[in-house]
Amino acid sequence: MNLAEGVQIVSFGILAALMIAAALGVVLFEKIVYSAFLLGGVFISISGLYILLNADFVAAAQILIYVGAVNVLILFAIMLVNKEEVFKPISGRWIRKAATALVCVGLFALLSTMVLATPWNLAAPITAPESTLILIGKHFFSDYLLPFELASVLLLMAMIGAIIIARRDFIPDIEAASSDQPLQTVWRLPERPRELTPTQGSSNQRK
């Protein structure tokens, strides 16, 4: 074992320990903000594992997409609805917790037997490709063309859905109402005018 292999094994150990610890933290912390931040830690450790597997582009994409976009969006959602709320203790909550733990242990056992039962082909020598980028590109446009295109269509659907949801209430019967106004621009999605929400100013008026 030379120096490079030793460094690889040690960093694998550190990354794996970090990842498992952070993942347990995500599940076990009561405070949801901690879970969200630790989720970022899990994603970064996974990208470290990708680097150890010579998948440099996937590692960078993992950080960009999961840490930089998904995790930030989760945090946004948490912080925008950051309402201090005391939950009522539910009687017999331990049954739910025990059932969850049982399902998780079962899944873990299933996956472990799969890992142990599969005959891994470890004998083949592994050579790092010169450019992972070119390899990924070639796969995308040959044997993985259909999944690639389907994923892009899926993303497009998600985007259109998000835009529709983000617009305020969609009024389906706008056609009948606007038939006598032919000058209305065609390019706008029909939406209800925003009502002025009463703020703290209204409480002053009551006095």
Binding site: L3, D56, A60, A61, I63, V67, A69, L75, F76, M79
Partner: protein, 372 residues
């Protein structure tokens, strides 16, 4: 054109000659450029802080710092020392762990991004295959640190500032990445070395500034927004949010934010210089100059001159861009948050997409000029 000075190769070779195994020699080499770059980045920050004070003074018809050292050059050092010795206050009812972790998470990715900044043919810490992409993905970690510090401060201004910072960073990441993608498409590689090499050959005429005029503007606007420089410094807008996510911070934790923002500015200018201004290239092609002078490219003194000229050119271009950024800070008013998001999503994003498509079309039509 490809040889140049290979310090790493020479260092490893000389160590192996002394009887040390090549692996160990390489390990001994690794920390050297890293410390050099960290020191360089820190000194760069001191210079930028001094420049900022002097240029702002000139813009407001003041003199600026002048007593600490000649022309006040030691003023940033004094500032830094003050921050180091200041009491570190953690506000009550804040979250002490996240409060400490926030600034650290903001600073580390910025310094890590210096991995891929080349100052010459072989003067780079690592020439990664994914090169410039690493910079984009690392800079997307910073918003998490900002959100963290904004949340942990237990202060409404901090939380609002953190949310604004993250929203701004996410919105401007996309036009930034698309502008970079157009350059990458022309040079057929993500590696920063290849991007600079693709621009060399005809001196100033072959720089990307002529081939990517739109991409350059998009990149500059988006980079300023990512650095939270003045036309876009909404996360810390004094009049609205006290100081945004930095409100509750003092001492060295505030210092980390301060260093991080300036290192990020230097880094963005360096990347701009690499992507559009030909990196370490001299405005006149040096190898042709050498052939006119009748010296071979492999002459030792010529290589030393070329390498030092390369470093000087990179730094000159970078500081020219920093000068523009500082001048903009002291002359341009701040935009509103809705204007900022409108500009990012409704203007820069479509323009960047069109720019990308145009670059692809031009590349197919004129493979000679746009990298075949």
């Amino acid at each position: 054109m490809n040889s140049g000075i290979d310090l790493q190769g020479t260092f490893i070779e000389s160590l192996t000659d002394m009887g040390i195994s090549p692996g160990l020699a390489k390990t001994m080499w690794i920390p050297l450029p890293m410390t050099l770059v960290i020191i360089g980045a820190t000194v760069g920050v001191l210079v930028v802080v001094w420049l900022e004070r002097k240029i702002s003074a000139a813009a407001q018809q003041r003199i600026g710092p002048e007593f600490a050292g000649p022309l006040g050059v030691l003023q940033p050092v004094a500032d830094g020392l003050k921050l180091v010795f200041k009491e570190d206050i953690v506000p009550t009812k804040s979250d002490p762990i996240l409060f400490t972790l926030g600034p650290i998470l903001v600073v580390i990715p910025v310094f890590l991004s210096y991995l891929i900044i080349p100052f010459g043919q072989n003067l780079v810490i690592t020439d990664l295959n994914v090169g410039i992409f690493i910079w984009i993905s690392l800079s997307s970690i910073a918003p998490i640190g900002l959100l963290m510090s904004g949340y942990a401060s237990n202060n409404k201004y901090s939380l609002l500032g953190g949310l604004r910072a993250a929203a701004q960073a996410i919105s401007y990441e996309i036009p930034l990445a698309l502008a970079v993608l157009a350059v990458v498409m022309m040079s057929n590689s993500l590696s920063t070395i290849d991007i600079v090499e693709q621009q060399s050959g005809y001196g100033i005429l072959s720089w990307n500034i002529w081939r990517q005029p739109v991409g350059l503007l998009i990149f500059w606007i988006a980079a300023l927004a990512e650095c939270e420089r003045l036309p876009f410094d909404l996360p810390e807008a004094e009049e609205e949010l006290v100081a945004g996510y930095q409100t509750e911070y003092t001492g060295m934790k505030f210092g980390l934010f301060y260093i991080g923002s300036y290192v990020n500015l230097v880094l963005s200018s360096l990347v701009f210089a690499i992507l559009y201004l030909g990196g370490w290239d001299f405005p006149i092609p040096l190898d042709r100059l050498a052939s006119w002078l009748g010296t071979s490219e492999d002459t030792a003194w010529l290589q030393v001159v070329t390498a030092s000229l390369g470093i000087i050119m990179t730094i000159l271009k970078t500081y020219f861009l920093i000068f523009i950024a500082i001048l903009m800070r002291w002359t341009v008013p701040r935009v509103r948050i809705d204007q900022l998001l409108d500009l990012g999503w409704k203007f820069l994003l479509p323009v960047a997409l069109v720019n990308l498509l145009l670059t692809a079309a031009l590349k197919l039509t004129f493979p000679m000029a746009f990298g075949g």
